[in-house]
Symmetry: C2
Subunit: 353 residues, 2 copies
């Protein structure tokens, strides 16, 4: 039995408590400053309002001001905040890590990349960089990647993921803590590759989502034809670009065509907020307008990633640090999100290098 | 302008005439012995009854007994028969190839693998093997691979494919003959890799299709959860196994995560006969029963592939020529189709090597 602290009580953080609870672990589910209502409802009824599922008895909800208290005795911290919450999480953890006796695994469910003047970085390293220098070696960074819709995991539907991290020797242990008859977990030592794939899939799912809007705009063909060919071409180009960036950032192609890349892009393309925003863009709205008028309160992960890395990617292409020809679809999506460009697929630039 | 003979007037063979016609080529569309009604209807109305589209004026329909006449002056032959029709096509072509002055490109739209006592072979080589020895060097084998639903291509919806073949120098020429503003064609010299991917995708689309039946059997979760995670896990394992067999047969992984592998598996998983049969199997019917009672007249390409290679794969695994651990999902699908085994996903065997 392990004591696990989950920081972030959104749908994914909370869904992750189900396999943990089924394995007999004790879970302390700590809401962020945005999760107050969720924590209150779980206290009162045990039910997560957005997930629509009732958590196990071994899950105890806490507000974030009690993090210092609940981290005492923890064997593992799970980070379930969204990508914009990583800096906040680093501040919070920095304050309390001195209560942890030795090095503790921190497992990120959060997906994303960070772009700055030095280049692109995977999110776990941004978390570490946000900690006070004295605390940085107290965490061992790890992450979960793969096709995992939270609501399905919470209903114990078969779900396949990898666990990756900077300490390869730790991965089989983490996999054992997590694995259940419905939660299939494989260790994967390709930390950079997994993290690049699971972040980039959001931008490409947004691209696949454009097709919904194109189809509404153009209608079905005379013979009933829809646009699966078009979506599949975008899907394949997304993986092609992922392979380029994965290798550029020191990862392995194997992660691209397995769970972190192809598997996660598949599931993310089946619906959700990226798809809904993609449809609006495909219908001809600009990103600014669609966000403001239609989805003002929604986190659109693909758009968030475009904003997080767009300026850095543009600078790196200009400086020759990234081959622009290798990322035409990503650059198109950055133009759409960051510069309100129209949604036009650059077919002639696909599969160029 | 080129003279193109398309042998096989099914939906894919006929759809392929649209980009050819839009490029100004003359097309002779030759029906097989099973296509008599189609050829008659195109003669009378110009409309393909199953495709639901009207062919261009530059498409002239013929019955197969006139192949010897129409092949005179042809610059390219396109093979649009189904995988069971390749032997027949070889017999037909063998009789008439002596009318072709020099070597002629034969472009296969047909997908499949052949298994025999010597191992597994890609379909173009089976076509060549079926020709009289004196004619075998008269054809230059090529093929199209990638996500291409026929009805969408016939409606000129954006479609991305690769053209591959045994003569790399010929590929840019073939791509130029085919390419239109909606038909995006890339040369890909990985003949073995492309052919293995586009064949195997059918067996894995059948596997993804099982999920439709599982979901109907088990129903939605209490929170409305469906089974996208499960489908995505199967999708990723399919690509993983594809990568193994592609390398085993001399192909390149690049084809797995681009159009021939991931792209084509994506589009094939979106619906069609593999998905319909998969659903019946996922609901608990045996393959024999489902085929006999529900889909007696349908060609189910994933099942056809399982039958075509099943005995050879089983023998090769027993002989150590294939690592059984590397193909658990393929072997499960072979068991389901060839031995009426129940549809159970071998999760613990996934991603093993």
């Amino acid at each position: 039995m392990a004591n696990v602290v989950i920081l972030g009580a959104g749908v994914m953080g909370t869904a992750f408590s189900f396999p943990l609870a089924d394995n007999g672990h004790q879970i302390r589910l700590v809401g962020t400053h945005l999760d107050g209502d969720i924590i209150e409802e779980i206290h009162e009824s045990g039910r997560h309002p957005r997930l629509g599922s009732t958590v196990a008895a071994s899950v105890t909800p806490y507000t974030y001001d009690r993090l210092g208290e609940v981290i005492v005795g923890a064997d593992m911290v799970v980070l379930g905040v969204n990508s914009l919450g990583v800096d906040w999480a680093a501040l919070m953890l920095g304050d309390v890590l001195s209560s942890v006796p030795a090095q503790i695994p921190v497992v990120l469910l959060t997906k994303g990349l960070v772009g700055d003047e030095r280049g692109l970085h995977i999110l776990p390293y941004a978390l570490r960089a946000g900690l006070p220098a004295a605390q940085r070696s107290r965490i061992s960074l790890a992450a979960i990647g793969g096709p995992s819709i939270a609501g399905e995991l919470a209903e114990r539907r078969d779900t396949c993921v990898v666990v990756t991290g900077e300490d390869e020797a730790l991965l089989p242990h983490l996999a054992n803590l997590l694995r259940t008859p419905y939660y299939h977990v494989w260790p994967n030592a390709d930390f950079a590759g997994v993290e690049v794939c699971v972040a980039m899939k959001n931008i490409y799912a947004l691209a696949v989502g454009l097709v919904g809007g194109f189809l509404e705009r153009d209608g079905q063909g005379g013979n009933g034809a829809v646009m699966h060919n078009l979506a599949a071409g975008i899907f394949a180009q997304g993986l092609w670009e992922m392979a380029y960036l994965v290798e550029k950032m020191g990862g392995k192609r194997r992660s691209v065509f397995t769970l972190p890349g192809a598997g996660d892009l598949y599931v993310t393309s089946m619906g959700g907020r990226n798809s809904r925003m993609g449809r609006l863009l495909g219908l001809g709205m600009t990103y600014s307008q669609a966000k403001r008028e239609r989805m003002p309160d929604d986190t659109i992960e693909g758009a968030q990633l475009a904003q997080a890395i767009g300026p850095a990617v543009e600078r790196m292409v200009d400086a020759g640090e990234l081959e622009g020809d290798a990322l035409p679809l990503m650059r198109t999506m950055i133009d759409i999100v960051c510069h309100d460009a129209p949604a036009e697929i650059p077919w002639d630039a696909f599969f160029a290098q």
